[in-house]
């Protein structure tokens, strides 16, 4: 299980960046998720489904908890306006991905996270629905809108 979790670390980190807006907080959220999972080894039941969506759901909850600590009150992920990685952070990643990262950062959080879950983490629609707590039927339309929005944002970069 530890090996599988380590392999999920990067995807979880990128998802957390989309929700929290910076890499350091995102790493803390992934760390919190590891702690939650490893201190309760019986919490994951393989019979209920794969580890990946279950763990990413926990990562997402850890991110929401962090936001709640920063700003007490109910958290609506759809209303989050923090952009993803900022320009300084984007400079750290390869030149090829810089335009992509900057374009992603201009999208709303709900579009960023669904794009990452499908295209970066490679979850199925059913798994995305599980992570986000939405109906499976909503996934395709939300994802399509997100892809069209990202395509628009990438236009200036050619």
């Amino acid at each position: 299980m530890r090996q599988e979790l380590a392999q999920l670390g990067n995807g979880a980190h990128v998802l957390a960046i989309q929700i929290l807006g910076n890499a350091d907080d995102a790493a803390d959220a992934v760390h919190d998720a590891f702690t939650r999972v490893l201190t309760k080894p019986g919490a994951y039941q393989p019979a209920r489904g794969p580890l990946k969506p279950w763990f990413l759901h926990i990562v997402r909850n850890c991110c929401i908890d962090m936001i709640r600590r920063r700003r007490p009150g109910p958290v609506d992920i759809d209303e989050l306006t923090d952009s993803g990685a900022g320009p300084e952070q984007a400079l750290e990643i390869s030149q090829r991905d810089r335009a992509l990262q900057l374009s992603l950062s201009r999208l709303p959080a709900e579009q960023r996270e669904i794009l990452v879950l499908r295209d970066y983490v490679d979850l199925s629609y059913a798994e995305i629905a599980e992570v986000l707590g939405i109906a499976k039927g909503t996934v395709m339309s939300r994802l399509h809108r997100a892809r069209l929005a990202l395509k628009e944002e990438l236009l200036p970069y050619g």
């Binding site: 380590a6 990067n10 980190h13 702690t35 490893l38």
Partner: protein, 150 residues
């Protein structure tokens, strides 16, 4: 032969994303395929969506590697095992001290006066230790600069 129940003249919109992801039913796939044969705009959209998915999938959006996460994952385990180690160590020390104390008290060859003197010395040391530990704990709880790294 075209299935008449499949509307090939309408744009397929979000079904293009479903097609890219392999998440459509057979009928939906057929509808998208037939429509794209006739509609250049949707054909281009489909190609662009495929390219976009591939680009995002091949990108590197996090600098951290698998080893970093493995180390991160070990931190809580290290903390827990360290706590357990201290607990076992202190329990062992207390057990040895208890047995030694018992043997010392019941030993008839040691005069009572000597027993009282040694009890006062060790009792005093124990009280000093408890006092220092208590002070440290209070400082740790109330020190607002405890998380500041120098």
């Amino acid at each position: 032969m075209v299935n008449e129940s499949i509307r090939v003249d309408e744009h397929v919109g979000e079904l293009l994303s479903g097609m890219v992801d392999g998440e459509l039913t057979q009928q939906e796939r057929q509808r998208v395929t037939l429509h794209c044969e006739q509609c250049e705009a949707c054909r281009n959209d489909l190609a662009e969506l495929r390219a976009l998915r591939e680009r995002l999938g091949n990108s590197s959006l996090s600098e951290a590697g698998e080893d970093t996460w493995r180390e991160t994952m070990n931190e809580p385990v290290v903390a827990n095992t360290r706590g357990l180690g201290w607990l076992l160590f202190l329990a062992g020390i207390l057990a040895v001290a208890g047995v030694g104390m018992g043997a010392f008290i019941v030993d008839p060859s040691i005069p009572v006066g000597m027993k009282l003197i040694l009890a006062a010395i060790y009792g005093g040391l124990a009280l000093l230790l408890i006092s220092v530990l208590r002070q440290r704990l209070i400082e740790r709880k109330t020190d607002k600069y405890k998380d500041v790294e120098i």
